[in-house]
């Protein structure tokens, strides 16, 4: 056909060869397309048809990921677009799990179920967001990075504004969309600078060398802009401003999902981005990743935890606390070669579980007792003993007290940072350790508010208690058991972690 492309069949088989490694993603797309059709034609007769379809798609994707097992490609797929590895598979399983929990939350959320326009589109959007997240954990090309980040972002704006049942939800969505749009434009500009400096979009050796060739100031500018874009997904300081407002305004199931799924996808992306430079071991010459991330981690922990102390609204408090957790997980990134890799994975998984459980219970209480503030929780412990018992355990885990998974996670992160400190005797790891320890104590102040109010204060007599949705609590209960089991037998997770 053309002398430039002599072997068109060869190039094409290179593409088709990669398809078998994308079975989970294909399952998601298939479920998405099927869901669109079902929503159009059958949703009137079977209200939950799309939900079942989405759950089936996610289940199939999870199963395919597990079934693939060790069948991993040796080389990047699709001309260096993505790379499927053990680590991306772990992330993908977390995403699918979080999305399934989100579906459970949606199923029991009265506001969503009574939404006049139906919930079918939400599940379809969710599938695409999950698709984007799983590509975020695999992309090794800046085009794929941008595309998958945009998929997740735009999908998230839609999810936040999905109901728009009141002014606050609409406000949250516009804030999210404008902030996110600006951040992704900043990231795009950073990518364009990297392309201008290096001439390649592949995250790899050539790019690192190209960035080395330009003055360190230039490459630092480009990398800073890209990090700001990734930071938007992670909501670390100073790119965190949006998250408290959006988390408070969004419907609770969406908040639960956003503070878990896309955030973890952001960690996956950050990991890929950093590994590019760490593998080449030359990253420090033009950009001091470790110190930058250390400072960001410290600031993020301080801002998140200290601001949370003042919150009364539970969702807002959890939003700030999730900022604090972001800072904590970032500590693991600084000490990747001292066990931080494992620690980060472990913490991310445990964080996903406990965060989802916390929001589930917040949603449960919100729906049954109409309480959204800590002071509004007064005396509710006696009314919902099971829910609040679980809540206490989940909060204990979030604080990082044994015998819960949160404790093991914190222990692993702390010891990896300690290892980093031992290796370098630098000031910043020590500062991180101290900040981490202090903010852990601080976090006790606001986490304690919930049991304090629920159990130890007597509340108003007339609290309207509406319909039962026990399964939500039982799901949270199951998560609590997992957290405890993981706290006592960390082997349950560590045995399957890469790194």
């Amino acid at each position: 056909m053309d002398q430039q492309f002599p072997d068109i069949t060869g190039t094409f088989s290179a593409v088709t060869g990669g398809i078998r490694y994308l079975m989970p993603e294909i399952a998601l797309v298939a479920a998405f397309l099927l869901g669109v059709i079902i929503d159009l034609f059958f949703s009137r007769r079977f209200r939950h048809a799309v939900l079942i379809c989405a759950a089936a798609g996610l289940g199939a994707a999870a199963w395919l990921t597990l079934a693939a097992g060790d069948d991993l490609p040796a080389d990047p797929l699709f001309y260096g677009m993505i790379f499927s590895s053990v680590f991306s598979n772990v992330f993908k399983l977390v995403f699918y799990g979080v999305a399934l929990l989100f579906l459970v939350l949606c199923f029991f959320n009265r506001q969503l179920q009574q939404h006049a326009k139906g919930t079918g589109d939400l599940y379809n959007i969710l599938l695409v967001v999950v698709l984007g997240m799983s590509f975020m954990s695999m992309s090794i090309n800046l085009l794929m990075v941008y595309l998958s980040v945009e998929m997740v972002s735009v999908g998230s704006y839609l999810m936040v504004g999905y109901i728009s049942g009141n002014s606050r939800q609409a406000e949250a969505s516009i804030k999210y969309a404008l902030f996110g749009g600006a951040c992704s434009a900043i990231m795009l500009y950073g990518i364009s600078l990297i392309y201008a400096f290096t001439g390649t979009l592949d995250l790899g050796e050539i790019m690192v060398r190209g960035l080395e060739n330009v003055p360190s100031l230039s490459s630092a500018t480009a990398i800073t802009l890209v990090l700001a874009g990734i930071g938007f997904k992670l909501s670390f300081v100073p790119v965190h401003f949006w998250s408290p407002d959006v988390y408070e305004g969004a419907p609770t199931p969406v908040t639960a999902f956003l503070s878990t799924g896309p955030k973890i996808a952001g960690f996956a992306l950050l990991l890929i981005f950093l590994m590019t430079f760490f593998v080449a071991a030359e990253g420090h010459r033009f950009f001091d990743f470790k110190n930058t991330i250390s400072v960001i981690a410290i600031m993020t922990m301080v801002v998140g935890n200290f601001s949370a102390v003042w919150q009364d609204n539970i969702k807002r408090m959890l939003a700030y606390s999730s900022i604090g957790h972001t800072g904590f997980i970032l500590m693991g990134f600084v000490s990747l070669d001292h066990g931080g890799f494992r620690a980060m994975f472990f913490y991310v998984i445990v964080y996903a579980l406990m965060n989802m459980a916390a929001f589930m219970l917040a949603d449960y209480v919100e729906q049954r007792a109409n309480a959204v503030t800590a002071t509004g929780y007064a005396g509710l412990g006696k009314r919902f003993p099971l829910a609040f018992t679980i809540f206490v355990v989940v909060l204990i885990s979030l604080t990082g007290i044994p015998p819960t998974g949160g404790f093991i996670g914190k222990l692993l992160i702390f010891s990896s940072v300690w290892g980093q400190y031992r290796a370098t005797h630098a000031l910043l790891p020590l500062a991180m350790l101290i900040t981490g320890a202090v903010t852990t104590v601080i976090s006790l102040f606001y986490y304690l508010k919930i049991p304090l109010n629920a159990w130890l204060r007597s509340g108003d007599t007339a609290v309207t208690i509406t319909t039962k949705n026990g399964l939500l609590v039982y799901t949270a209960f199951a998560i609590m058991l997992i957290l405890l089991a993981v706290g006592i037998f960390p082997q349950l997770i560590t045995a399957y972690l890469p790194g």
């Binding site: 002014s167 600006a182 434009a185 959006v246 601001s307």
Partner: protein
Amino acid sequence: MIPLEHYLLISAALFCIGLYAVFTRRNAIQVLIGIEFMINAAVINFVAFSKYDKAKLGGQVFALFAIVLAAAGVAVALAIILNVYKYYKTIDPGKIDELRD
């Protein structure tokens, strides 16, 4: 052919103009226009440097994707803006501040 660093300068100027619009405009649609400026600034870079990348044409392809994704983003953002207008009767981002500490 103008030198590549002039392209970089033009794009930097456009980027910062967009940034300024995002910070200051009192109308959400104009804020969106600012974001579009920032995206177009990146597109200038991609296109200008793509000249040297004949083998993969990464810059031009990226530019195409950026334009298409931006359009989709704008469509979603406008739908959201109209929803906001329903409740606030304004689309001044500065006046939409019910959610705060």
